[in-house]
């Protein structure tokens, strides 16, 4: 199809998409623009940028937000590593082996999706108190991992099932052990699926409010999801600084996503279904 006839066919779709995109992005663009204003400028000019810019808003927001971002990474990275390893192992076991109880076990794990996370928060809180795990790394990370491996196992099983059996047969004939098959054949081929899971896991651990709210008592250890909330509570009347804190809180994941988006998309392109 030539360029011009493609345009003639597509322009209504492109226009509709453009309108949807503009409505989607307006609140965020507004936030970025106003993060460079002081209150007087904000009250005078609501939508458009004004001069001079006030980057010092970011300097004021940085100490609290930088600390929250650091905290978030200390929780998110161990969560990520454990989630990938454990989901990979479990997904592989379900995809490539037959064993007694396989289907029952899988359904039992999937059924956990239907249990409201908030219901488990109370008994888990009692466990955290009993073990004296409040304010500890494992007290945040292990419950998070246990949430994430449910979907992770589902995702990795779906992906591993698509790998051709012949690869594994050939390596088995060459005398490779089961663990070698997993590490040398399945894992390298599953990099896109792992990337998808990694992004979803990061999104989850950056976004969860309820568990950190319950398991962390020391306000200096709070992650971004709550840090930005309490910062907005303190600086709420100083619009520029508050908006700057929103932008700072959003940047780490946007930067990470910029480098991994292709693999993330590839991992989802196989589709998910029930």
């Amino acid at each position: 199809m030539s360029q011009s006839s493609a345009w003639r066919r597509d322009w209504p779709l492109m226009l509709a998409l453009l309108i949807l995109a503009i409505i989607t992005y307006v609140p965020f663009v507004f936030t970025v623009i106003n993060s460079f204003k002081i209150n007087a400028q904000f009250f005078q000019q609501f939508w458009l940028p004004t001069l001079p810019l006030h980057p010092e808003n970011y300097v004021r927001a940085w100490p609290a937000m930088g600390r929250a971002i650091f905290n978030s990474f200390t929780y998110s990275i161990p969560t990520l590593v454990l989630t990938l390893i454990i989901s990979g192992l479990a997904g592989y076991a379900f995809a490539r082996y037959r064993f007694p109880g396989r289907n029952i076990l899988f359904v039992a794990i999937l059924a956990l999706i239907m249990i409201p996370g908030i219901l488990l928060v109370i008994p888990m809180f009692s466990v955290i108190i009993a073990l004296d795990w409040g304010d500890t790394l494992q007290g945040v990370v292990l419950p998070w991992v246990s949430v994430e491996i449910v979907f992770g196992t589902f995702l990795m099983r779906t992906f591993f099932e698509t790998l051709p059996q012949e690869y594994f047969e050939a390596a088995r004939l060459d005398g490779a052990s089961e663990f070698t098959l997993l590490i040398r054949i399945a894992v390298p081929l599953a990099i896109p699926a792992f990337s998808t899971l990694a992004i979803l896991d990061l999104l989850f651990s950056w976004n969860d409010i309820i568990w950190p709210l319950v398991a962390i008592f020391d306000s200096g250890r709070l992650p971004v999801s709550i840090g930005v909330l309490s910062f907005a509570g303190q600086y709420g009347t100083d619009y520029g600084v508050t908006f700057a804190s929103y932008v700072i809180a959003s940047l780490p994941l946007i930067i990470i996503f910029a480098f991994t988006s292709r693999r993330f998309m590839d991992g989802l392109s196989g589709g998910l279904s029930i």
């Binding site: 066919r9 597509d10 492109m14 998409l17 949807l20 995109a21 409505i23 989607t24 609140p27 609501f46 192992l89 479990a90 592989y92 082996y97 037959r98 289907n103 076990l105 999706i113 239907m114 249990i115 409201p116 996370g117 908030i118 219901l119 488990l120 928060v121 109370i122 008994p123 888990m124 809180f125 009692s126 292990l142 991992v145 246990s146 949430v147 449910v150 059996q165 047969e169 088995r172 089961e178 976004n207 409010i209 309820i210 709210l213 971004v224 999801s225 709550i226 930005v228 909330l229 929103y246 994941l253 946007i254 990470i256 996503f257 988006s261 989802l268 392109s269 196989g270 589709g271 029930i274």
Partner: protein, 320 residues
């Protein structure tokens, strides 16, 4: 479910010609190997999912104030719960929220995915897909705080826009009035295209075989008709997945209430999950909160089973 070629686990026997052929083809794997791979997952799920779930249900029949042990009181929590006007109100609220939010998300994700799917240029398809993926990575609390600013009575984006174009004379506190607070929460993130549902539906559409579409086109099927007669039935698996995830998430919704309204005004945005949080962690009534959670779990369970049955009733899935 049953595939012939990957039967790799079996009891280890040394005799029989059939067995040795088997061994040649795929090799025997000791039966404990898959369980070895599953152990870490099972330990974590047992300690932080299954046992707490049982514990929560058990403690819903107790008076419980952590760290004290629970004291068995039978059905008292449930009786109090269904006499609790705030809880009853929260059930009505969450049904409205759940249905409204799911309808919005599902319809808009489908519309967005169809618009992108029908483009004839691969390059533009990828660009638009990226445009509607980026907002997904903005932290939820930031998104909620930004939307609080959208709805704000003073210096709010929606008010400035509506008064600016002359549609409204005076600004209106959208989150502060009983009649608009809940709808405002439903419309957070409008137009709600950007999200996981959009990506899943688009992936499902792109995996449809082009032959069916070409055949339909030759038979004189319009593009519009194709969307409803071919695309929609063909992707009901992914749609059911999104429906279940979205309804379950709606049922347990918590963050918008916590961040934006604290359940107000006059409990019009109180949700069961947020009420559970208040009862459990503000008032320390952990048994009562567990009863709320158990009711919530039963509702989620019934809903999910209902959707799964609808989805598999008279359904024969064409492999796509």
């Amino acid at each position: 479910m049953i595939r012939s070629s990957d039967q790799t686990v079996g009891p280890k026997t040394n005799s029989g010609a059939r067995v040795s052929r088997w061994k040649l083809r795929s090799g025997f794997v000791p039966i404990y190997v898959p369980f070895l791979f599953l152990i870490p997952a099972l330990i974590l799920l047992l300690s932080f999912r299954y046992i707490p779930a049982v514990s929560a249900i058990f403690h819903s029949f107790t008076y419980w104030n952590i760290p004290e042990p629970g004291e068995f009181i039978g059905l008292e929590n449930y009786q109090a719960l269904f006499d609790d006007p705030i809880f009853i109100k929260s059930l009505g609220n969450i049904l409205k929220y759940m249905v409204g939010r799911t309808a919005l998300v599902l319809v808009m994700a489908f519309v967005g995915a169809e618009l992108v799917y029908n483009l004839s240029s691969d390059r533009w398809r990828n660009i638009w897909r990226m445009v509607f993926t980026i907002p997904m990575v903005i932290p939820i609390t930031v998104n909620l705080l930004v939307w609080q600013q959208v709805y704000a009575g003073r210096q709010g984006m929606l008010n400035e826009f509506l008064t600016g174009i002359g549609a409204m004379a005076r600004p209106y506190p959208w989150l502060g009035r009983p009649d608009t607070a809940l709808p405002a929460l439903i419309f957070i993130g409008f137009p709600a295209v950007a999200g996981f549902g959009f990506l899943i539906i688009l992936a499902a559409l792109q995996n449809l075989s082009s032959e069916v579409n070409d055949a339909a086109l030759i038979d004189g099927c319009s593009r519009f008709r194709r969307v409803f007669s071919i695309d929609l039935p063909a992707i009901r698996g992914p749609l059911a997945l999104i429906l279940i995830l979205s309804l379950n998430q709606g049922m347990q919704e918590f963050a918008p209430m916590l961040v934006m309204t604290q359940g107000g005004p006059i409990n019009t945005t109180m949700s069961p999950a947020y009420y559970l949080y208040i009862q459990g962690f503000t008032y320390g009534k952990h048994g009562y909160a567990s009863a709320i959670g158990t009711v919530l779990m039963l509702m989620t369970l019934v809903l999910s089973i209902f959707i799964l049955r609808m989805r598999y009733r008279r359904a024969y899935d064409v492999a796509v």
